[in-house]
Amino acid sequence: MARLHPFTTASFAATTAVVVIASGSRWAAAATVLACAVAAVRTGRLRRFAAACAAVLGPLWASQLMIHALVDRSGAAALWEVGPLRITAGGLDTALGLGLRAAVLVAVGTLAALAVDRHDLVAAIDAAGVPAQLGYIVGAAFGLGPQLAGRSRAIGRAQALRGAGGRGPAGWLRAVRLRAVPLVVATVQDAALRSGHLAARGFPASGAVVRYREVADSRRQRLARRIAPAAGAVLAVVLIAGGGALP
Protein backbone atom coordinates (compact mmCIF):
# COMPACT_ATOMS: atom_id res chain seq x y z
CA MET A 1 0.00 0.00 0.00
CA ALA A 2 1.32 3.42 -0.90
CA ARG A 3 2.32 5.51 2.06
CA LEU A 4 -0.26 8.11 3.05
CA HIS A 5 0.64 11.78 3.11
CA PRO A 6 0.62 13.05 6.75
CA PHE A 7 -2.26 15.43 5.98
CA THR A 8 -4.27 12.59 4.45
CA THR A 9 -3.78 10.52 7.62
CA ALA A 10 -4.82 13.48 9.79
CA SER A 11 -7.85 14.19 7.59
CA PHE A 12 -9.08 10.57 7.69
CA ALA A 13 -8.49 10.34 11.45
CA ALA A 14 -10.40 13.55 12.17
CA THR A 15 -13.28 12.50 9.90
CA THR A 16 -13.53 9.07 11.55
CA ALA A 17 -13.54 10.52 15.06
CA VAL A 18 -16.15 13.17 14.22
CA VAL A 19 -18.55 10.75 12.51
CA VAL A 20 -18.29 8.07 15.20
CA ILE A 21 -18.78 10.59 18.03
CA ALA A 22 -21.69 12.25 16.20
CA SER A 23 -23.38 8.88 15.72
CA GLY A 24 -23.60 8.53 19.50
CA SER A 25 -23.42 4.77 18.97
CA ARG A 26 -21.52 2.82 21.58
CA TRP A 27 -21.18 -0.13 19.24
CA ALA A 28 -19.62 2.09 16.59
CA ALA A 29 -17.30 3.58 19.20
CA ALA A 30 -16.21 0.17 20.52
CA ALA A 31 -15.73 -1.13 16.96
CA THR A 32 -13.58 1.91 16.08
CA VAL A 33 -11.35 1.43 19.11
CA LEU A 34 -11.02 -2.27 18.27
CA ALA A 35 -10.22 -1.46 14.64
CA CYS A 36 -7.49 0.95 15.77
CA ALA A 37 -6.00 -1.78 18.00
CA VAL A 38 -6.06 -4.25 15.10
CA ALA A 39 -4.38 -1.70 12.83
CA ALA A 40 -1.73 -1.14 15.50
CA VAL A 41 -1.12 -4.92 15.68
CA ARG A 42 -0.85 -5.21 11.89
CA THR A 43 1.69 -2.39 11.73
CA GLY A 44 3.72 -3.68 14.69
CA ARG A 45 2.93 -0.73 16.91
CA LEU A 46 0.62 -2.35 19.45
CA ARG A 47 2.86 -1.84 22.47
CA ARG A 48 3.37 1.88 21.83
CA PHE A 49 -0.29 2.31 20.93
CA ALA A 50 -1.51 0.57 24.09
CA ALA A 51 0.94 2.42 26.33
CA ALA A 52 0.02 5.82 24.86
CA CYS A 53 -3.73 5.15 25.10
CA ALA A 54 -3.47 3.80 28.65
CA ALA A 55 -1.45 6.80 29.84
CA VAL A 56 -4.19 9.18 28.65
CA LEU A 57 -7.32 7.11 29.23
CA GLY A 58 -6.47 5.68 32.67
CA PRO A 59 -6.75 8.94 34.64
CA LEU A 60 -9.52 10.23 32.35
CA TRP A 61 -11.74 7.19 32.93
CA ALA A 62 -11.05 7.29 36.68
CA SER A 63 -12.07 10.95 36.71
CA GLN A 64 -15.26 10.29 34.70
CA LEU A 65 -16.20 7.41 36.98
CA MET A 66 -15.78 9.58 40.08
CA ILE A 67 -17.74 12.51 38.65
CA HIS A 68 -20.65 10.66 37.04
CA ALA A 69 -20.89 7.20 38.55
CA LEU A 70 -20.11 7.89 42.21
CA VAL A 71 -22.17 11.03 42.79
CA ASP A 72 -25.21 10.75 40.51
CA ARG A 73 -27.82 13.36 41.42
CA SER A 74 -30.44 12.43 38.82
CA GLY A 75 -32.84 11.04 41.40
CA ALA A 76 -32.80 7.57 39.85
CA ALA A 77 -32.90 4.54 42.13
CA ALA A 78 -29.51 4.00 43.77
CA LEU A 79 -27.64 0.75 43.35
CA TRP A 80 -25.46 1.63 46.33
CA GLU A 81 -25.54 4.67 48.59
CA VAL A 82 -23.31 5.74 51.46
CA GLY A 83 -22.79 9.35 52.63
CA PRO A 84 -22.40 11.64 49.60
CA LEU A 85 -21.63 8.67 47.32
CA ARG A 86 -24.56 7.50 45.25
CA ILE A 87 -24.10 4.96 42.50
CA THR A 88 -26.93 4.54 39.99
CA ALA A 89 -27.32 2.65 36.73
CA GLY A 90 -27.79 6.00 34.96
CA GLY A 91 -24.55 7.38 36.36
CA LEU A 92 -22.61 4.30 35.29
CA ASP A 93 -24.21 4.54 31.86
CA THR A 94 -23.16 8.21 31.49
CA ALA A 95 -19.60 7.37 32.56
CA LEU A 96 -19.52 4.52 30.03
CA GLY A 97 -20.76 6.78 27.21
CA LEU A 98 -18.19 9.48 28.04
CA GLY A 99 -15.45 6.90 28.40
CA LEU A 100 -16.16 5.43 24.97
CA ARG A 101 -16.29 8.89 23.39
CA ALA A 102 -12.88 9.71 24.86
CA ALA A 103 -11.56 6.31 23.82
CA VAL A 104 -12.51 6.96 20.18
CA LEU A 105 -10.72 10.31 20.18
CA VAL A 106 -7.61 8.92 21.88
CA ALA A 107 -7.40 5.68 19.88
CA VAL A 108 -7.88 7.33 16.48
CA GLY A 109 -5.59 10.25 17.33
CA THR A 110 -2.86 8.05 18.75
CA LEU A 111 -2.94 5.64 15.81
CA ALA A 112 -2.71 8.56 13.36
CA ALA A 113 0.19 10.10 15.31
CA LEU A 114 2.04 6.76 15.33
CA ALA A 115 1.42 6.25 11.62
CA VAL A 116 2.86 9.62 10.62
CA ASP A 117 6.60 9.90 10.11
CA ARG A 118 7.71 13.06 11.90
CA HIS A 119 10.24 14.01 9.24
CA ASP A 120 7.51 13.62 6.64
CA LEU A 121 5.20 15.78 8.75
CA VAL A 122 7.75 18.60 8.96
CA ALA A 123 8.48 18.35 5.23
CA ALA A 124 4.75 18.35 4.45
CA ILE A 125 4.19 21.47 6.60
CA ASP A 126 7.15 23.16 4.87
CA ALA A 127 5.74 22.40 1.45
CA ALA A 128 2.16 23.33 2.33
CA GLY A 129 2.51 27.05 1.77
CA VAL A 130 1.98 27.91 5.44
CA PRO A 131 4.33 30.36 7.20
CA ALA A 132 7.88 28.95 7.34
CA GLN A 133 7.93 29.53 11.09
CA LEU A 134 5.42 26.69 11.60
CA GLY A 135 7.63 24.03 10.01
CA TYR A 136 10.68 25.30 11.89
CA ILE A 137 8.92 25.23 15.27
CA VAL A 138 7.50 21.71 14.78
CA GLY A 139 10.80 20.31 13.49
CA ALA A 140 12.91 22.00 16.15
CA ALA A 141 10.52 20.96 18.96
CA PHE A 142 10.89 17.28 17.99
CA GLY A 143 14.66 17.60 18.00
CA LEU A 144 15.07 19.78 21.07
CA GLY A 145 12.93 17.65 23.43
CA PRO A 146 15.38 14.73 23.74
CA GLN A 147 18.34 17.13 23.62
CA LEU A 148 17.07 19.18 26.57
CA ALA A 149 16.09 16.06 28.51
CA GLY A 150 19.67 14.80 28.11
CA ARG A 151 21.07 18.16 29.18
CA SER A 152 18.76 18.20 32.23
CA ARG A 153 20.01 14.74 33.26
CA ALA A 154 23.62 15.81 32.82
CA ILE A 155 23.07 18.91 34.98
CA GLY A 156 21.36 16.75 37.63
CA ARG A 157 24.30 14.30 37.67
CA ALA A 158 26.81 17.14 37.92
CA GLN A 159 24.93 18.72 40.82
CA ALA A 160 24.64 15.35 42.56
CA LEU A 161 28.41 14.77 42.18
CA ARG A 162 29.15 18.03 43.97
CA GLY A 163 26.67 17.14 46.70
CA ALA A 164 24.21 19.92 45.90
CA GLY A 165 20.58 19.72 46.93
CA GLY A 166 19.71 18.04 50.21
CA ARG A 167 16.81 16.44 52.03
CA GLY A 168 13.34 17.81 52.73
CA PRO A 169 11.38 20.51 50.94
CA ALA A 170 14.21 23.05 51.20
CA GLY A 171 16.65 20.58 49.65
CA TRP A 172 14.19 19.79 46.87
CA LEU A 173 13.67 23.47 46.10
CA ARG A 174 17.44 23.95 46.00
CA ALA A 175 17.77 20.97 43.67
CA VAL A 176 15.08 22.42 41.37
CA ARG A 177 16.82 25.78 41.29
CA LEU A 178 20.23 24.24 40.66
CA ARG A 179 18.83 22.28 37.73
CA ALA A 180 16.39 24.83 36.28
CA VAL A 181 18.64 27.92 36.23
CA PRO A 182 21.53 26.42 34.22
CA LEU A 183 19.07 24.60 31.96
CA VAL A 184 17.11 27.77 31.15
CA VAL A 185 20.26 29.90 30.78
CA ALA A 186 21.80 27.36 28.38
CA THR A 187 18.55 27.07 26.43
CA VAL A 188 18.12 30.83 26.00
CA GLN A 189 21.81 31.12 25.10
CA ASP A 190 21.41 28.46 22.39
CA ALA A 191 18.29 30.18 21.08
CA ALA A 192 20.17 33.48 20.91
CA LEU A 193 22.98 31.89 18.88
CA ARG A 194 20.55 30.08 16.58
CA SER A 195 18.55 33.26 16.03
CA GLY A 196 21.62 35.09 14.80
CA HIS A 197 22.59 32.28 12.44
CA LEU A 198 19.07 31.97 11.05
CA ALA A 199 18.67 35.73 10.62
CA ALA A 200 22.02 35.89 8.83
CA ARG A 201 20.75 33.27 6.36
CA GLY A 202 17.55 35.15 5.64
CA PHE A 203 15.05 33.15 7.71
CA PRO A 204 12.13 33.04 7.06
CA ALA A 205 12.87 32.66 3.37
CA SER A 206 10.55 34.26 0.87
CA GLY A 207 10.31 32.76 -2.58
CA ALA A 208 11.38 29.36 -3.87
CA VAL A 209 13.61 27.20 -1.68
CA VAL A 210 15.39 23.91 -2.35
CA ARG A 211 13.84 20.95 -0.54
CA TYR A 212 15.81 17.81 0.16
CA ARG A 213 12.89 15.66 1.26
CA GLU A 214 9.88 14.89 -0.89
CA VAL A 215 6.72 13.54 0.72
CA ALA A 216 4.79 11.04 -1.36
CA ASP A 217 1.48 12.53 -2.47
CA SER A 218 -0.96 12.12 -5.31
CA ARG A 219 -3.89 13.90 -6.86
CA ARG A 220 -6.20 11.20 -5.55
CA GLN A 221 -4.93 11.71 -1.98
CA ARG A 222 -5.26 15.47 -2.22
CA LEU A 223 -8.82 15.09 -3.39
CA ALA A 224 -9.67 12.50 -0.73
CA ARG A 225 -8.31 14.55 2.14
CA ARG A 226 -10.37 17.56 1.06
CA ILE A 227 -13.60 15.64 0.49
CA ALA A 228 -13.39 13.45 3.62
CA PRO A 229 -13.72 16.22 6.25
CA ALA A 230 -16.46 17.98 4.30
CA ALA A 231 -18.43 14.74 3.89
CA GLY A 232 -17.76 13.89 7.54
CA ALA A 233 -19.06 17.26 8.71
CA VAL A 234 -22.26 16.87 6.66
CA LEU A 235 -22.75 13.32 7.94
CA ALA A 236 -22.16 14.47 11.51
CA VAL A 237 -24.81 17.18 11.20
CA VAL A 238 -27.27 14.67 9.72
CA LEU A 239 -26.55 12.14 12.47
CA ILE A 240 -26.91 14.69 15.26
CA ALA A 241 -30.08 16.14 13.75
CA GLY A 242 -31.51 12.64 13.50
CA GLY A 243 -30.60 11.92 17.10
CA GLY A 244 -28.00 9.35 16.01
CA ALA A 245 -28.96 6.90 13.30
CA LEU A 246 -27.05 4.00 14.80
CA PRO A 247 -27.87 1.94 17.91
Binding site: I21, V56, H68, G97, L98, Q133, A140, Q147, S195, A199
Partner: protein, 268 residues
Amino acid sequence: MSTSPSAPPSLLAAPGSRGPSRRSTILGAAGLAVLAGTYIVLLATRPDAVAGGLGEAAALGAFAGYLAAALLLLAAVLPELPTEAVVLIPAALALNIVLGQFVGSVMLPLYLDSIGTVLVGFLAGRRAGAATGLMGTLIWSLFNPTVLPFAAGAGLIGFLAGTAARWGLVRRVYLAPVAGLATGVVAGVVSAPVAAFVFGGTSGVGTGALVAAFRSMGDGLLSAVTKQALISDPGDKAVVFLAVALLVAALPPRLLRGFRSPAARRDP
Protein backbone atom coordinates in the same frame (compact mmCIF):
# COMPACT_ATOMS: atom_id res chain seq x y z
CA MET B 1 19.14 47.28 11.13
CA SER B 2 18.13 49.78 13.76
CA THR B 3 19.44 49.56 17.31
CA SER B 4 19.05 51.78 20.30
CA PRO B 5 22.05 54.16 20.61
CA SER B 6 22.42 53.37 24.32
CA ALA B 7 22.38 49.60 23.89
CA PRO B 8 25.21 47.61 22.36
CA PRO B 9 24.32 45.86 19.11
CA SER B 10 22.89 42.40 19.53
CA LEU B 11 22.46 39.50 17.17
CA LEU B 12 19.03 39.05 18.68
CA ALA B 13 17.88 42.60 18.23
CA ALA B 14 14.81 42.73 16.09
CA PRO B 15 14.25 45.51 13.60
CA GLY B 16 12.30 48.44 15.01
CA SER B 17 9.11 47.68 16.86
CA ARG B 18 6.21 46.97 14.51
CA GLY B 19 2.58 46.88 15.34
CA PRO B 20 0.39 44.02 14.18
CA SER B 21 -0.61 44.12 10.51
CA ARG B 22 -4.20 44.49 9.35
CA ARG B 23 -4.32 40.77 8.43
CA SER B 24 -3.06 39.80 11.88
CA THR B 25 -5.58 42.07 13.58
CA ILE B 26 -8.49 40.66 11.57
CA LEU B 27 -7.47 37.04 12.15
CA GLY B 28 -6.87 37.69 15.85
CA ALA B 29 -10.24 39.37 16.22
CA ALA B 30 -11.91 36.50 14.35
CA GLY B 31 -10.20 33.96 16.63
CA LEU B 32 -11.32 35.79 19.76
CA ALA B 33 -14.85 36.14 18.33
CA VAL B 34 -15.07 32.40 17.63
CA LEU B 35 -13.73 31.62 21.11
CA ALA B 36 -16.17 34.01 22.78
CA GLY B 37 -19.06 32.83 20.58
CA THR B 38 -18.45 29.17 21.38
CA TYR B 39 -18.14 29.97 25.08
CA ILE B 40 -21.37 31.99 25.13
CA VAL B 41 -23.31 29.37 23.15
CA LEU B 42 -22.14 26.60 25.48
CA LEU B 43 -23.04 28.64 28.53
CA ALA B 44 -26.41 29.60 27.11
CA THR B 45 -27.42 26.09 26.02
CA ARG B 46 -25.86 24.05 28.84
CA PRO B 47 -27.07 20.62 27.68
CA ASP B 48 -28.22 18.51 30.61
CA ALA B 49 -26.94 15.26 29.15
CA VAL B 50 -23.20 15.26 28.47
CA ALA B 51 -23.31 11.90 26.66
CA GLY B 52 -25.70 11.04 23.84
CA GLY B 53 -27.95 13.29 21.70
CA LEU B 54 -27.33 16.94 22.45
CA GLY B 55 -24.32 15.96 24.54
CA GLU B 56 -22.49 14.76 21.41
CA ALA B 57 -23.41 17.98 19.58
CA ALA B 58 -22.11 20.08 22.49
CA ALA B 59 -18.91 18.03 22.64
CA LEU B 60 -18.21 18.35 18.92
CA GLY B 61 -19.26 22.02 18.90
CA ALA B 62 -16.99 22.88 21.83
CA PHE B 63 -14.10 20.91 20.31
CA ALA B 64 -14.51 22.45 16.86
CA GLY B 65 -15.11 26.00 18.12
CA TYR B 66 -12.12 26.07 20.47
CA LEU B 67 -9.85 24.42 17.88
CA ALA B 68 -10.93 26.84 15.14
CA ALA B 69 -10.28 29.77 17.49
CA ALA B 70 -6.82 28.40 18.27
CA LEU B 71 -5.94 28.01 14.59
CA LEU B 72 -7.16 31.53 13.76
CA LEU B 73 -5.15 32.99 16.63
CA LEU B 74 -2.09 31.03 15.50
CA ALA B 75 -2.51 32.31 11.94
CA ALA B 76 -2.70 35.82 13.38
CA VAL B 77 0.45 35.74 15.47
CA LEU B 78 2.84 33.28 13.85
CA PRO B 79 3.81 34.96 10.55
CA GLU B 80 4.73 38.22 12.27
CA LEU B 81 7.00 36.87 14.96
CA PRO B 82 10.61 38.05 14.87
CA THR B 83 13.28 35.35 14.46
CA GLU B 84 14.46 35.59 18.08
CA ALA B 85 10.95 34.66 19.24
CA VAL B 86 10.60 31.86 16.68
CA VAL B 87 13.80 30.14 17.85
CA LEU B 88 12.83 30.53 21.48
CA ILE B 89 9.44 28.82 21.03
CA PRO B 90 10.59 25.22 20.38
CA ALA B 91 13.13 25.53 23.19
CA ALA B 92 10.33 26.70 25.48
CA LEU B 93 8.13 23.78 24.43
CA ALA B 94 10.91 21.37 25.34
CA LEU B 95 11.36 23.20 28.67
CA ASN B 96 7.61 22.79 29.36
CA ILE B 97 8.02 19.03 29.07
CA VAL B 98 11.42 18.60 30.77
CA LEU B 99 10.71 20.85 33.76
CA GLY B 100 7.12 19.60 34.01
CA GLN B 101 8.35 16.00 34.16
CA PHE B 102 11.01 16.85 36.76
CA VAL B 103 8.51 18.58 39.02
CA GLY B 104 5.91 15.87 38.39
CA SER B 105 8.40 13.19 39.46
CA VAL B 106 8.16 14.33 43.09
CA MET B 107 4.35 14.05 43.26
CA LEU B 108 3.65 17.74 43.90
CA PRO B 109 0.00 18.66 43.25
CA LEU B 110 1.07 21.17 40.58
CA TYR B 111 1.23 20.91 36.78
CA LEU B 112 4.02 23.46 36.19
CA ASP B 113 3.80 22.52 32.52
CA SER B 114 3.60 26.07 31.23
CA ILE B 115 6.99 27.36 32.42
CA GLY B 116 8.32 27.67 28.87
CA THR B 117 5.14 29.38 27.63
CA VAL B 118 5.31 31.99 30.39
CA LEU B 119 9.06 32.44 29.83
CA VAL B 120 8.49 33.30 26.16
CA GLY B 121 5.63 35.64 27.11
CA PHE B 122 7.91 37.44 29.58
CA LEU B 123 10.91 37.62 27.23
CA ALA B 124 9.47 38.00 23.75
CA GLY B 125 6.03 39.53 24.34
CA ARG B 126 2.34 38.72 24.07
CA ARG B 127 2.19 37.43 20.51
CA ALA B 128 5.16 35.11 21.02
CA GLY B 129 3.68 33.90 24.31
CA ALA B 130 0.36 33.16 22.65
CA ALA B 131 2.10 31.33 19.78
CA THR B 132 4.05 29.21 22.26
CA GLY B 133 0.92 28.15 24.13
CA LEU B 134 -0.91 27.35 20.90
CA MET B 135 1.96 25.49 19.24
CA GLY B 136 2.81 23.63 22.43
CA THR B 137 -0.69 22.22 22.68
CA LEU B 138 -0.88 21.36 18.98
CA ILE B 139 2.42 19.46 19.15
CA TRP B 140 1.55 17.81 22.46
CA SER B 141 -1.72 16.60 20.90
CA LEU B 142 0.39 14.17 18.83
CA PHE B 143 1.05 12.36 22.12
CA ASN B 144 -2.26 13.15 23.85
CA PRO B 145 -5.16 14.04 21.50
CA THR B 146 -7.38 15.13 24.40
CA VAL B 147 -5.41 18.38 24.87
CA LEU B 148 -6.31 19.68 21.40
CA PRO B 149 -9.36 21.78 22.41
CA PHE B 150 -7.36 23.37 25.25
CA ALA B 151 -5.01 25.09 22.77
CA ALA B 152 -6.87 28.41 22.93
CA GLY B 153 -6.61 28.44 26.74
CA ALA B 154 -2.88 27.73 26.54
CA GLY B 155 -2.46 30.55 24.04
CA LEU B 156 -4.31 32.85 26.40
CA ILE B 157 -1.86 32.00 29.20
CA GLY B 158 1.09 33.00 27.01
CA PHE B 159 -0.69 36.16 25.88
CA LEU B 160 -1.48 37.17 29.48
CA ALA B 161 2.10 36.43 30.54
CA GLY B 162 3.29 38.85 27.86
CA THR B 163 0.69 41.38 28.99
CA ALA B 164 1.90 41.09 32.60
CA ALA B 165 5.44 41.73 31.42
CA ARG B 166 4.29 44.72 29.37
CA TRP B 167 2.61 46.21 32.45
CA GLY B 168 5.83 45.83 34.42
CA LEU B 169 4.44 43.23 36.81
CA VAL B 170 7.42 40.93 36.27
CA ARG B 171 10.15 43.43 37.02
CA ARG B 172 8.88 43.48 40.60
CA VAL B 173 9.10 39.78 41.42
CA TYR B 174 6.55 39.98 44.24
CA LEU B 175 3.87 41.08 41.73
CA ALA B 176 4.45 38.10 39.43
CA PRO B 177 2.32 35.64 41.48
CA VAL B 178 -0.52 38.18 41.47
CA ALA B 179 -0.40 38.27 37.67
CA GLY B 180 -0.26 34.47 37.73
CA LEU B 181 -3.36 34.27 39.92
CA ALA B 182 -5.31 36.51 37.54
CA THR B 183 -4.08 34.50 34.53
CA GLY B 184 -5.12 31.26 36.24
CA VAL B 185 -8.63 32.59 36.86
CA VAL B 186 -9.08 33.57 33.19
CA ALA B 187 -7.54 30.33 31.88
CA GLY B 188 -9.65 28.24 34.25
CA VAL B 189 -12.92 29.94 33.31
CA VAL B 190 -12.18 29.71 29.55
CA SER B 191 -11.18 26.03 29.68
CA ALA B 192 -13.98 24.82 31.97
CA PRO B 193 -16.66 24.36 29.24
CA VAL B 194 -14.29 22.17 27.20
CA ALA B 195 -13.52 19.99 30.19
CA ALA B 196 -17.19 19.77 31.11
CA PHE B 197 -18.83 19.24 27.72
CA VAL B 198 -16.13 17.38 25.77
CA PHE B 199 -14.77 15.14 28.51
CA GLY B 200 -17.53 15.25 31.10
CA GLY B 201 -15.24 16.63 33.79
CA THR B 202 -11.47 16.61 34.04
CA SER B 203 -8.61 14.42 32.86
CA GLY B 204 -6.89 13.87 36.22
CA VAL B 205 -7.80 11.80 39.27
CA GLY B 206 -7.16 14.56 41.82
CA THR B 207 -9.07 17.21 39.90
CA GLY B 208 -11.82 14.65 39.19
CA ALA B 209 -12.21 14.06 42.92
CA LEU B 210 -12.65 17.81 43.45
CA VAL B 211 -15.35 17.99 40.76
CA ALA B 212 -17.07 14.95 42.27
CA ALA B 213 -17.04 16.66 45.67
CA PHE B 214 -18.68 19.78 44.26
CA ARG B 215 -21.23 17.65 42.40
CA SER B 216 -22.09 15.81 45.62
CA MET B 217 -22.79 19.22 47.20
CA GLY B 218 -25.40 19.93 44.54
CA ASP B 219 -23.48 21.77 41.81
CA GLY B 220 -24.19 21.20 38.12
CA LEU B 221 -21.37 19.81 35.98
CA LEU B 222 -20.19 23.11 34.45
CA SER B 223 -20.39 24.87 37.80
CA ALA B 224 -18.43 22.09 39.53
CA VAL B 225 -15.74 22.02 36.83
CA THR B 226 -15.44 25.82 36.89
CA LYS B 227 -15.02 25.82 40.69
CA GLN B 228 -12.38 23.09 40.43
CA ALA B 229 -10.54 25.09 37.76
CA LEU B 230 -10.70 28.20 39.94
CA ILE B 231 -9.06 26.24 42.75
CA SER B 232 -6.37 24.44 40.71
CA ASP B 233 -5.34 26.88 37.98
CA PRO B 234 -4.68 30.17 39.83
CA GLY B 235 -2.36 28.51 42.36
CA ASP B 236 -0.48 26.67 39.63
CA LYS B 237 -0.07 29.78 37.51
CA ALA B 238 0.97 31.89 40.51
CA VAL B 239 3.80 29.42 41.20
CA VAL B 240 4.77 29.29 37.52
CA PHE B 241 4.80 33.10 37.14
CA LEU B 242 6.90 33.47 40.31
CA ALA B 243 9.33 30.74 39.22
CA VAL B 244 9.75 32.24 35.75
CA ALA B 245 10.15 35.78 37.12
CA LEU B 246 12.97 34.44 39.32
CA LEU B 247 14.48 32.60 36.34
CA VAL B 248 14.40 35.77 34.23
CA ALA B 249 16.05 37.64 37.08
CA ALA B 250 18.81 34.98 37.08
CA LEU B 251 19.51 35.32 33.34
CA PRO B 252 22.66 37.28 32.42
CA PRO B 253 21.88 40.77 31.05
CA ARG B 254 23.81 40.07 27.82
CA LEU B 255 21.25 37.36 26.99
CA LEU B 256 18.28 39.59 27.74
CA ARG B 257 19.51 42.54 25.73
CA GLY B 258 18.02 41.43 22.45
CA PHE B 259 14.51 40.80 23.74
CA ARG B 260 12.04 43.62 23.47
CA SER B 261 9.77 42.68 26.34
CA PRO B 262 9.79 44.97 29.39
CA ALA B 263 10.55 41.90 31.54
CA ALA B 264 13.88 41.67 29.79
CA ARG B 265 14.84 45.20 30.82
CA ARG B 266 16.25 45.47 34.31
CA ASP B 267 15.75 48.45 36.59
CA PRO B 268 18.99 50.48 36.84
